[in-house]
Structure formats: structure tokens, C-alpha cells
Amino acid sequence: MTKVNCSIDVHHLTRVEGHGNIHITIRNGELVDAQWAVVETPRFFEVMVKGLSAERVPFLTSRICGICSISHSLASIRSLERAMGINPPPAAEKLRLLAMHGETLQSHALHIFFLAVPDFVNTPNVLPLIESHPHIVQAGLRLKGAGNAISELVTGRCTHPVSLVLGGVSKAPQKEKLESLRAQLDAVRNDLDTTAEFCSTLQIPSFVRETEFVSLRNGNTYPAIGGDLVSTDGVRKDENDYLAMTNEYKLDFTTTKFTRLSRDSFAAGALARFNNNFDLLRPEARKVAAQFGLEPVNHNPFMNNIAQLVECYHIVNDAIALIDELLEDSLADTRVAWKPEEGAATGAVEAPRGILYHYMEVDRNGKVRKGDCIIPTTQNNANIHHDLAALARQALAEGKNDEEIRQLCEMVVRAYDPCISCSVH
């Protein structure tokens, strides 16, 4: 054994969104402590929404996150529409799903190429890859660009959407623009294959820790907006029962809350959606999963990177199908009028990093009385914490040195694609 005592401290982990620290202590060859501490400054969105007009809430809550602002906006919209009995027109529902696809595509591409891949090829960031793997970086940028192009066309811009409103979508995209978006998406199918080929050359660490995976499931389509809350341990609950699904608690060393369900912790995200909804993926996505030997239920957190790639295949193909449907529609009717009504409901959506809940209570004047937001990364934090301990123990048993252990630990945190400011909203 090379090392019996070591202390690993990663202050403000890089290539993740937000501020988090890793602390690992090994004494006499035994793991004493492994901690994932979120030190992000909280913003108190649940307080900010109080007294605000329902109409304004999605514009506020989208600011919870710079990467998944569309998901936050739609989670608030769904909760408030359910609370006040508003039914948006079918064309608006399709546009919203398309917007979700755009956001997840750009987010997954950002994560795979900019944040995760540098670890696998041992570079500090993506810049050296511009020289060494130009066609890979270009493919990544085109995929990310296609995701942003969807969001921009459907919601007005790619961060902090402008046209997602209570009652529907305030402005429908022009058909000519939908057609050119379709062509752009058709063209990036090749980039997906280039990415898959490249990813198949990466060495995914072999690490397995049995985990419960939580996601939405509606039984008809791969999940995005609304549905039942399910877990791979067999839990199934109604969307409004989100508190029984999350069981938040607070520990001293971290500013985010932790969650649990049937075990000490659970995971949300691409791998969780995949594990619960494999049967609802498009055939192109199922095919690429098979190429990587990815089958439900997979318990290796590093495979979340591959599950994201599988979802990119699903999204690109599903977005093309959605655009074809929208081109058949008149798109004249994308918004309904509504009146404030007293009520309360949960809106659950699958943000890129996993299941996201917004709960809102409104009074009869349409002012928010109470709000609650439970973020995917909050749900993953406890699982990351437990993974770190198990991974450090395994690496120690394999005789890895400090530097190797530190690198593996950083990688496993990044594999979850944590969105830390989001989790400390």
C-alpha cells in the first residue's frame, strides 16, 4: 500500500455549476470521512415569490438557474395552471415540450463536451481539445447550438424564456423558421453518431453502488412535463405527493438540503429517467444504449454521461417529429385567457438534471401565498455524498494514490452534472 493517510480537499470544485467542496479523510488505510459540502449562497426564492402575482412567478423562478431556466419556468407554470384550473391549448403543450427538448439538448451537450470529457482525456478544460479533436468539439458545439436554436425559436431566447406564460405560449414561432429548425436538427443527427463513436473510446470507471432512481413516468411518452412520481424500488405516487417522495432534511456542513426515499439517498437525472422509462425511448436512442451495454436498471453513476447521450438521440428525433406535427397545426391558438382563482398544486417536470418540483398556493386575487421548489441536484446531493464514500473506499482497496482518488471523486461529482446554485435557490 502506497498511502495510509491522506486528506483530500477540493475547494470550489471546477467545471460544475455553482460552489461545492469535497473533503475526504483516510487514516491508517481506512476511510474516516467523505463529504460533499455545498457552500453556495442561498437566495430564498420561496420567500421572493410570496405576494407576487401568479403571472409574474415563472419570470422570477426561471432565474433560479441559468442553465435550466425553461424547466423552472414550466414547473411554476404547471403548478399555477393546475392550482387555478387553467388548460392550455394542445399546440401550446407541444411547443412547451419542444422547448424542454431544446434546453435538455443544450444542457447535455454542455455537460458532455465542456464539463465531463476533459476528465476523460486529462485536460483542464475543453480548449486543448479544439486542437487535438477539432471534429469532436465542432460536433459538440453544433449539438449545443441546435438545442439553443430550439429554445430561442420557441421561447424567444435560450436563457430566461420570454414567451412561456400562464395559459400557453405568448407568441408561436413562424412556420418557415420551424422548417429551417427541422433542417438544422436533421443535420445534427450525424454529430450524434460522431459523439457516440468518440464516447465509445472513453474509459468509463467501473464503479457500482446499488441506488434507488426517481423520475417522472406517464406511461405514454418519455417523461418531460408532469406525470406520476416513480422509483426503481417500486414506489409510485401522485404528482401532488411530492413531499412524500423527497423527505428533505438539513445537515450542518452544507447549505443545501438532502433528501431520501426508500434508502439513505436516491438519484435523479438522465440515468434515473432511463432506468424508469427505457421502454418509452425512441428506437434510435435504445439502439445507441445497446451499443454501450446500457440497460435498465444500471447502478454505475458514471453511466449518467452515457444516459445523457442516449437522451440526446431521443430528443433530436422526437423534436423533429414534434415539429412535423406543429407544421400541420394552424398555430393560431396557443394561449387561453384565465382568471385568478384560489388553489394549490404541484408542477413536476424533468429538468436536464432530473425531477424538479414547484409547489404554489395562490389566493383568490392570484397572489402567491406560499411556494416550495425542490431541485434535482438537492435530491442528488445525498447520493453524491454516499457515492464519494463508497468510491474512495473502492479506490483505496485498489491501491490508488491520493491524486487518483481525488480525480475519481471529482469525476463522480461531475457525472451527476450538479447544478449547485439551483440546489441552493
Binding site: 442561498p42 430564498f44 475543453v126 435560450c158 405568448s170
Partner: protein, 254 residues
């Protein structure tokens, strides 16, 4: 880098985030087709979200977010010492932004509402310029990438830097949009600084004023406009408070 025949070393840039959504720094990674070229102009010394390299010497510090904790004050002061030029970018950095909606409630109530009895440190939201000297402000929620790029390149080459002085209304009219006041909405376009290309109003969503006041905004006649359209003053006040950047108008009238 060559610019107007002027040759320079690569500009050393650091990006730093405080209390915010980090959406502004993400804008810098967007615009995929120009990204490698933009990065080519810069020597990135510190950009935690995309790179694990860190250095503490930089010409320009891009600072995003508002200040809500004491450790942030210290970190910001260090950044100010290290940087030749400090740019506050995004509405949170420039005005406090949406985070300031928290300031409507006492700090103890905020903590109790979200964390129950567990103590969590937080203070009322402050702007970057409340703590250190800011050389330049680029407002927006989020900022526009092209504006940030233009300003960073201008600094590198010693060119003049300015933001549009006229209101969003001008940009909105150029797009031939139907006025949202005529659709019965209170829109802050007439008093908000342009430069966003009227993205919200073009999407048929009223302007909430994320870029702050236009120069010489006429608040009295704006209030009159809202009244003439028979629209609610409550709605107006809620919108003016959204990004915390129209304090002068609210003070004016109260």
C-alpha cells in the same frame, strides 16, 4: 491579437460569480459558431464553470451576482485588488436584481421560511458597487453576449465604451410590434435602457426593466401613460420592483 493595426497581448480575463443563477457567464459560452474565435482573443485565467485552471492575475474581472454573505465581501475585495478593470455584469451585479425581492422581508423571516430552525447565514442583498469600485456596468437578465464581447474587446483596444441611452421602446417600434399598452399590459419599455433588441416585447411579454433606467427617463409622464390606459398602479409597482433598478422613480412618487 490584431485590432485596427494595434497589436496586443491576449487579454487576461477572469470570470467570478456571487449570489446568482450564473446565467450571465453561461451566455459567454453560447453563440456556438463564434465561441472558439472569441476564446482565441482571451487568456482565461479563472473561469471555474468551464475550466479547472486558476490564476490570480488578470486584466479584467467580470463579476456576476449580488452580495449576500460576509465571505463574499472579502472575496470581492480580493478580486478588486487583483484586477485592473472590474466589470459588473448582469442585473444582479448592477442593481441587486431579482434577489432583492428578498429584502422585502426581515432576514430572520427568510431563514425561518426556508430552513426552519437550522441557522443559515444571509444578509440583505447588495450590489457590487455597494462594496467596491466598479469600472463598468453591463446590465441585463441575462446579459447579451454580443454586448459583453463588444465591451471586452473595446477595453482591450482602448476604444470608447457606451451603452444605448434611449429606451427599449425605440427598439420595439423598430420591430413593428403592436404596443403592449394597447393590449392592456403595463410595459416598462418606455423607461428602460435599450440594448436587448426588445426581445421580451417582441415575444409579446411586457418589459420588466432588467437593463435599468434609460437616461432622462420621464417618470411622471410614464405614470400618466399607465393611468391613461386605465391600468393598475399595483401592477406597475410590482414590475418596477422586479429587478430593484427603479428606486429613484418609486422614491419620486411616494
Amino acid at each position: 491579437m490584431q485590432h485596427l493595426g494595434f497589436s496586443n497581448e491576449k487579454l487576461k480575463v477572469g470570470s467570478f460569480d456571487f449570489t446568482c443563477c450564473e446565467g450571465c457567464q453561461l451566455q459567454l459560452a453560447n453563440g456556438e459558431s463564434t465561441l472558439p474565435e472569441f476564446l482565441e482573443l482571451l487568456d482565461i485565467r479563472n473561469f471555474r464553470e468551464i475550466s479547472s485552471e486558476r490564476h490570480d492575475d488578470y486584466d479584467i474581472a467580470l463579476v456576476e451576482g449580488s452580495i449576500t454573505r460576509d465571505d463574499e465581501v472579502e472575496r470581492l475585495q480580493t478580486i478588486r485588488k487583483n484586477a485592473k478593470i472590474l466589470i459588473a455584469y448582469g442585473s444582479c451585479a448592477c442593481f441587486g436584481g431579482v434577489n432583492s425581492l428578498k429584502n422585502r422581508f426581515p432576514v430572520e423571516e427568510c431563514v425561518r421560511e426556508v430552513y426552519g430552525d437550522s441557522p443559515v447565514e444571509t444578509r440583505p442583498v447588495r450590489r457590487i458597487s455597494d462594496i467596491v469600485k466598479v469600472d463598468f456596468s453591463i446590465p441585463g437578465c441575462p446579459v447579451s453576449k454580443s454586448e459583453v464581447e463588444r465591451i471586452v474587446v473595446s477595453i482591450a483596444t482602448g476604444a470608447m465604451i457606451s451603452l444605448p441611452k434611449y429606451p427599449v421602446c425605440v427598439e420595439c417600434k423598430q420591430q413593428l410590434n403592436t404596443c403592449l399598452f394597447d393590449l392592456g399590459k403595463v410595459c416598462l419599455g418606455p423607461i428602460t435602457r435599450a440594448g436587448c433588441d426588445a426581445v421580451c416585447t417582441t415575444g409579446k411579454t411586457p418589459c420588466l426593466g432588467c437593463r435599468g433606467p434609460a437616461e432622462d427617463a420621464n417618470y411622471t409622464s410614464f405614470r400618466q401613460l399607465v393611468r391613461e390606459h386605465g391600468l393598475g398602479m399595483d401592477e406597475l409597482d410590482e414590475k418596477l420592483a422586479f429587478y430593484n433598478c427603479f428606486g429613484e422613480m418609486r422614491d419620486d412618487e411616494s
